[in-house]
């Protein structure tokens, strides 16, 4: 065969270039890119970040204390000159700082409770999924039974019976909300466990910890992350619901549910008391939902 050096190098260069251009992206890089391309999700992340910062630095932003009563301003609308930006509540307390304190409670309940549910759900679900067989069917039967119960009522009973302590609210909601998480993790573990690539990895001598780390966890974690983001708003909602019924946090501490409940009672003469906390709650829930949807689309592109 004759030699043609220039042609050869050109071809080799061409192949190399093609190889560079189509460089593989990992699942996570790909997901990240798709998530950041989703405008609603990015906007939601920014808004949520702002709300969180405002909640954390509430005392720095507002000159008022959350429980200070201004007798001259009872249930008045927004006032710029006195820095009552959202007005005051029916007891003459500054609504802006109270709304931000409500944000603290709601966000904290949302995150801590979701963590409680996450820990219980992932442990329970992965055990059921991993062992399979009779253990699995027994464990899932328990979940089924719990599922068909009016759990909201048990939360209410728990809170009523054991007093309205915030930690109790965390635990009560967390104990109830882990069910779906357990189902998701169990289903995912079960299906991943049977996948051909797991068998292939096992056949080619990959150790069990490595299989779990490289193959099972990355495949289970996607739906879990999505579910966690979608669970936070649900938990916030449950807490607001309890507070609305007068079963949540106690005075003078407040939460969005309490504020909305008070606002609803005064809506004829002081609609701002209803509108400001309601908008904050709705916007927060919006953001979490959009981020959750964005994550789901990013992690599971076929669902678009």
């Amino acid at each position: 065969m004759a030699t043609d050096i220039t042609g050869g190098t050109k071809r080799a260069a061409l192949i190399e270039k093609a190889g560079e251009e189509v460089q593989g992206r990992s699942l996570w890089q790909d997901a990240q890119r798709r998530l950041f391309a989703n405008k609603m999700a990015v906007a939601s992340m920014i808004v949520l970040g702002i709300i969180t910062l405002m909640a954390v630095f509430a005392d720095v932003i507002s000159p008022h204390a959350y429980d200070e009563v201004y007798w001259d301003y009872i249930g008045v609308g927004p006032q710029w000159e006195n820095n009552h930006w959202f007005g005051t509540d029916a007891n003459g307390r500054d609504l802006f700082i109270r709304t931000l304190y409500g944000a603290r409670v709601s966000l904290m309940v949302g995150i801590v409770t979701t963590l409680v549910a996450l820990i219980i759900g992932v442990t329970y679900g992965s055990i059921a999924g991993y062992f399979g067989g009779r253990v699995d069917s027994l464990m899932m039967r328990v979940v089924d039974v719990l599922y068909s119960m009016p759990l909201m009522f048990f939360i209410i009973i728990l809170v009523v019976v054991f007093g309205r302590h915030i930690v109790l609210v965390f635990i009560a909601i967390g104990c109830v909300e882990w069910l779906t998480m357990a189902r998701i993790v169990r289903g995912q573990t079960l299906s991943v466990k049977r996948k051909e690539y797991i068998e292939a990895a096992r056949a080619s001598g990959v150790s069990t910890p490595n299989i779990i780390r490289r193959h099972i966890i990355p495949n289970v974690i996607g739906p879990v992350i999505v579910f966690v983001t979608l669970m936070v708003p649900v938990v916030i909602l449950v807490e607001s619901f309890l507070s609305f019924l007068g079963l949540g946090v106690q005075e003078p501490m407040t939460s969005w549910g309490v504020l909305i409940s008070e606002g609803a009672a005064q809506m004829e003469n002081a609609p701002h008391m209803l509108i400001f906390p309601a908008v904050f709650l709705a916007v927060t829930l919006f953001c979490f939902n959009f981020i959750g949807d964005g994550l789901r689309d990013a992690l599971d592109p076929k669902d678009r």
Binding site: M1, A2, T3, D4, I5, G7, G8, T9, K10, R11, A12, L14, I15, E16, A18, E21, V22, R34, A37
Partner: protein, 348 residues
């Protein structure tokens, strides 16, 4: 012979988040009456999408350019309601996945009679009788009982038979079979192919058989068109293609078929490399990166289909496979200059 289907410079493109992907890059061919044409190619060669485009079944992000005419009527860009008068009636299609191709919540009988209702205006008992006849024709045991069964109650092979029977209900002039045997067990594959060969004799339909398996084509087809990177690499009579392949890709496909007569100690040939990335097709020949006879012209210039032997066309710059270098001044690229993967295969 009159052409049932005339395709001219057909292109299929998909809009994806990473840019436009060209699945089919300008193909032209005819399917004549009662003729059986095999379309052979690897996955991703565009062979399925070509006929999806003809049937107007592309995914929403796909678009079709060029022309595809059924008996002189342009199908590309035809409004769906007009297209619906042709597909299922004049042109029928069988899909690869018989497991999911039938509606799970409708009985077999219903799924068959609705075709006759739509195209032939047949109703009730007539349609059922016709459906039963077709099930018998495709040799489904206990055909009468099957009409009242749901798809999940049938085996994979039987479902594929139902699909075939359903496609033949209106005696179409053209039957497109997209990998009809791929999802089936080997023994069932053989039965289905045998059935298709029989049906070809019974019906007068022209058949397009899309497959990645040259063996399937050999038994059934008159003509073969080998597809790669959305283009035809070689077309011709089935015997010519099998005994005198003119394109290195066809030759590669043939050598990678296992043969019983061969010495078992020799390793089965595999074409090195992977099918091209349709998003970044090279400027020259799509097969250049995997071709053992690649030379400068292949990188620079796209080879067009040209008659290599009477009735046999190839898209390749080579003079012939026996004398791979068409131009003595432009020699093939030496083995030493190639990436190791390809070199290993060549020296093996």
């Amino acid at each position: 012979m009159a052409a049932v289907l005339e395709v001219r410079d057909l292109q299929v493109r998909f809009a994806t988040p990473d840019g436009e992907v060209s699945a089919v890059n300008g193909v032209s061919f005819d399917v004549n009456e009662s003729e059986c044409v095999g379309i052979v190619g690897e996955s991703g060669s565009g062979k399925s999408q070509l006929f999806m485009a003809v049937m107007g079944l592309l995914a929403k992000n796909g678009r079709t350019l060029g022309s595809a005419k059924y008996r002189g009527t342009e199908l590309v860009g035809m409004p769906v309601d007009k297209l619906n008068k042709i597909r299922g009636d004049k042109i029928a299609m069988i899909f690869q996945d018989s497991m999911t191709g039938l509606t799970p919540h409708l009985r077999i009988g219903r799924q068959m009679t609705e075709v006759l209702e739509e195209h032939k205006g047949m109703g009730g008992a007539d349609a059922r009788a016709r459906a039963l006849d077709m099930l018998n024709l495709v040799r489904i045991p206990e055909a009468a009982r099957r009409l009242n069964q749901y798809p999940h109650e049938l085996s994979g092979g039987m479902r594929q038979r139902v699909m075939i029977a359903m496609a033949l209900l209106c005696e179409p002039e053209l039957l497109i079979a997209d990998e009809p045997t791929t999802a089936l067990d080997v023994t069932v594959q053989a039965q289905i192919l045998e059935l298709m060969a029989d049906l070809k004799r019974v019906t007068k339909a022209a058949v397009v058989l899309i497959t990645h398996d040259l063996g399937t084509v050999a038994g059934l087809c008159d003509k073969v068109q080998v597809m790669y990177g959305g283009r035809f690499m070689e077309t011709g009579d089935v015997r010519q293609i099998f005994y005198k392949p003119q394109h290195p890709y066809t030759k590669g496909l043939l050598s990678s078929m296992p043969r019983l007569t061969e010495d078992r100690r020799t390793t089965l040939y595999a074409i090195p490399g992977q099918p091209p990335n349709l998003q970044r097709l090279p400027a020259g020949c799509p097969f250049q990166e995997r071709c053992e006879f690649v030379h400068q012209r292949c990188v620079d210039e796209l080879p067009l289909l040209q008659e290599a032997r009477p009735g046999q066309f190839k898209a390749c710059h080579l003079e012939s496979l026996e004398h791979p270098v068409d131009d003595p001044t432009r020699a093939a690229i030496p083995a030493e200059a190639m990436p190791p993967v390809i070199r290993d295969v060549r020296t093996a």
